[in-house]
């Protein structure tokens, strides 16, 4: 379980995240919605250990990982992450992109190779192992980013608007793939987006973030009957309420 308690982060005088508390269990997908600049990405980066927090605490599986002035290094948190721009390493092949995170942990080479092959097979990229990111199509790159994030079997995956640049058809395919993988591995997914359709398709819970704070939460029961216009109405109401505060 990822537990964030009263987490806060300032950049200069700007409060990017302002006392946010969140629990993410497995297998569950929590979608964080919110307008641009509301602190969604910063929250993700704080959980990943890519930023130091100013207040609060983050624990993963009961072990404290971040507190003011103290932070466990990102690679010791056992998390996978998919970045908005995917951040695929251009000088490494598809195989190299997946293998980089697995090698050097005392595992035998054959075992690493088998894990990489398995990860690529799961996203239907087994035949593209020797291709570089620029030699892959948009959808293949997306699948490679997923394979890289899931290689090594992390229990939780953080996703920062990963499908924002895809066409609707590809986006639908990716969401289906993600759902499959989530079910297979029993993953906990924290998914940041401002796209309402993605939120409805993936979420077990939806939280809306405005000006660094959570302004509303929907649970599974509340999400099930919602249509996109309903969610938009709720979204607008939450943003307006927070603006009035």
């Amino acid at each position: 379980m990822i537990r964030a308690s009263g987490v806060a982060k300032c950049f200069g005088t700007v409060r990017a995240v302002d006392g946010v508390s969140l629990v993410l269990d497995r297998p569950e997908t929590v979608v964080v919605l919110g307008p641009s600049g509301c602190g969604k990405t910063t929250l993700l980066r704080l959980i990943a250990g890519l930023e130091m927090l100013d207040a609060g605490e983050i624990a993963i599986n009961g072990v404290p990982k971040s507190a003011p002035g103290r932070s466990v290094e990102p690679h010791r948190r056992g998390l996978g992450m998919i970045f908005q721009d995917l951040a695929l390493w251009p000088h490494l092949t598809a195989f190299g992109n997946v293998a980089f995170g697995l090698s050097g942990h005392g595992q035998k080479r054959a075992l690493v190779r088998a894990s990489v092959e398995e990860a690529l097979r799961q996203v239907a990229l087994a035949g593209h192992r020797d291709r570089y990111p620029h030699e892959l199509s948009g959808g293949e790159r997306q699948r490679l980013a997923i394979a890289r994030a899931l290689a090594g079997r992390p229990r939780y995956v953080l996703m920062d608007e990963p499908f924002s640049s895809l066409d609707p058809l590809l986006k639908k395919q990716m969401i289906a793939l993600l759902k499959d993988l989530r079910a297979s591995f029993g993953l906990g997914v924290l998914y940041v987006t401002h796209n309402l359709d993605e939120a409805l398709a993936l979420a077990d819970r939806i939280v809306i973030m405005v000006r660094g704070r959570f302004a509303g939460i929907l649970d599974r029961g509340q999400i099930a009957p919602l249509t996109q216009p309903d969610l938009l109405e709720w979204y607008e109401a939450c943003v307006a309420d927070e603006a009035d505060c």
Binding site: H91, F100, G101
Partner: protein
């Protein structure tokens, strides 16, 4: 938007006349005889033992200097760009100071320090109980050491520019799985490898064409041999033919370097990429600081300190300055004029290259880089061959000839700097202005130039600094009665006037520093006081 055709044509014509015509002349001098091409003397020269020795020496000097520069420059770039090293901002500026010291001055300093009766060898002999002096500077390793120390900032500069262009998310994605050392080795270093390799080639070419350092340290390399053939033996044809293997090698390397850096930034005047990750050094902080201090100590403090010590009392500066005032004024005027003209030409040439047909761009870019491959001594010989005629005597006998030589020699650097800046500029910014006015110079002056002023300032500074310390071309083409400060220092050194050499060297350094600070301040100044 395209610049007016007459301006583009004028800039390319000036480039062709200054830099390419002398090369054609060189080839004709070497290989044209009795109305036809004659390759016999080339084969005869190429097969001699002395040619092979020369080639081996030159390659060892350039390869060694390049390896040393990478060994020093890359860790320094990482330490100042990617760690929490204390004083990294200051170190990030100080590392450029060795470039302000002409390589021949580095040689003079180490010649003094490592002399048989200098301060270091007798101490080591006594401490280690040795009969002979353990360190000798009159050797290939000596030249490698001096050139490596003089040129490592080029590698640091390019590596830092590369590090600033690395997308932080690429490193962050790796940090989720691996520790900092593996991320640097597996992700960051390969991503900046083209910059590092380009820096290494830059140093290699600079070292292989350098004349001053091997001449002072008495190591026979191509540049020295060419000078001897031309100046001492008056055999122009032999000098040119001798240089052909060197020219072929440098032309190839310059082409490779231009290809590696296509579309990449050569330098950045910014303070660092937003969001770039700095790794904590923790316990190794002291060690890293010591390493950086040692490098800057050897490349800045030791030369400046040694020169200051050799110059003696403050009165010495006034004494040597009086007779050197004219040389100082000439150097400053020539370097400023060359920097101004070269930067202007570079702006027009780089802009026209970027607006030319896509297929033509690599060839044009390579063409602008060709003069860099020509050793200064050879360029001097070529310029003499082209312009020393009755019809062009008015130019050949004036100081404008030296400016022409500097433009020919340093235009590649200016074009690279401006071209890199213009490449980052979105063409739609100019197109938006074109909708408002048809006056192209107004668009260039009010939109384009302010947006690339950092690159333009960098081009101006690079040419100014290189021109202030230039020796090889100046020695051959300076008209009678005209003397620059480096030439005066070079002559005084041969007369054994050590105190005057040291004092004038420091004055040269101070003048360069002052102009550089002024230009940097001007580049960062915004009308209306906005930063």
């Amino acid at each position: 938007m395209r610049l007016p055709r007459w301006a583009v044509a004028a800039a390319w014509t000036a480039f062709a006349l200054a830099a390419l015509l002398p090369l054609v002349q060189l080839l004709a001098d070497a290989l044209w005889r009795d109305g036809g091409w004659d390759l016999t003397p080339v084969w005869a020269l190429l097969l001699t033992d002395s040619q092979w020795r020369l080639l081996a020496n030159s390659l060892m000097v350039a390869g060694g200097a390049s390896a040393l520069a990478v060994g020093i420059g890359v860790p320094l770039a990482f330490a100042t760009e990617r760690t929490d090293l204390p004083g990294r901002r200051l170190l990030g500026v100080l590392y450029l100071v060795p470039l302000l010291i002409p390589p021949q001055l580095h040689a003079i300093v180490w010649l003094r320090l490592l002399a048989q009766n200098g301060p270091i060898n007798p101490f080591l002999q006594h401490a280690l109980g040795l009969e002979a002096a353990p360190l000798g500077v009159f050797s290939v390793p000596g030249v490698v050491f001096v050139l490596g120390l003089a040129y490592f900032p080029f590698v640091t500069l390019l590596t830092k520019a590369g590090l600033r262009t690395v997308d932080p998310s690429l490193e962050e994605a790796a940090l989720l799985r691996q520790g900092p050392l593996r991320v640097i080795a597996g992700i960051t270093l390969p991503l900046v490898a083209p910059h590092i390799l380009a820096g290494a080639i830059l140093v290699f070419v600079f070292a292989i064409i350098d004349f001053g350092v091997p001449d002072i340290l008495r190591v026979r390399v191509y540049a020295v041999e060419i000078f001897i053939q031309f100046s001492a033996l008056y055999d122009k044809r032999a000098a040119v033919v001798l240089s052909l293997p060197l020219l072929a090698a440098t032309l190839m390397l310059v082409g490779l370097q231009a290809r590696l850096m296509r579309g990449r930034a050569y330098l950045s005047l910014a303070h660092g990429a937003a969001g770039a990750r700095r790794y904590p050094l923790n316990k190794t902080r002291f060690l890293a600081l010591l390493g950086c201090g040692l490098v800057l100590g050897l490349s800045v403090l030791v030369p400046v300190g040694t020169l200051a010590f050799a110059a003696g009392s403050p009165g010495a500066y006034a004494r040597v300055m009086e007779p050197a005032l004219s040389a100082m004024g000439t150097s400053l005027a020539l370097a400023l004029a060359a920097a101004g003209v070269t930067t202007l030409l570079a702006c027009v040439i780089a802009h026209s290259m970027l607006r030319s047909r896509r297929g033509l761009r690599p060839a044009l870019h390579y063409l602008t880089q060709v003069p860099f491959a020509v050793p200064p001594i050879l360029l001097g010989i070529a310029l003499v061959g082209v312009w020393n005629r009755p019809a062009t005597g008015w130019l050949y006998d004036s100081v404008a000839m030296i400016v022409l030589g500097y433009v020919a020699h340093f235009l590649p650097f200016a074009v690279r700097a401006v071209h890199a800046g213009l490449q980052q500029l979105d063409p739609s910014l100019e197109e938006a202005a074109w909708l408002a006015t048809s006056r192209r110079w107004r668009i260039a002056g009010l939109i384009t130039l302010p947006l690339v002023r950092g690159s333009v300032a960098a081009a101006f500074l690079v040419v100014f600094v290189l021109a202030m310390g230039e020796l090889g071309v100046t020695l051959l083409i300076a008209p009678p009665g005209v003397e620059t400060l480096p030439v005066r220092i070079y002559n005084l050194m041969h007369y054994g006037a050590e105190q005057a050499v040291a004092a004038l060297s420091l004055i040269l350094l101070a003048a360069q520093l002052a102009v550089c600070l002024l230009v940097l301040a001007a580049a960062r100044w915004h009308p209306g006081g906005r930063k």
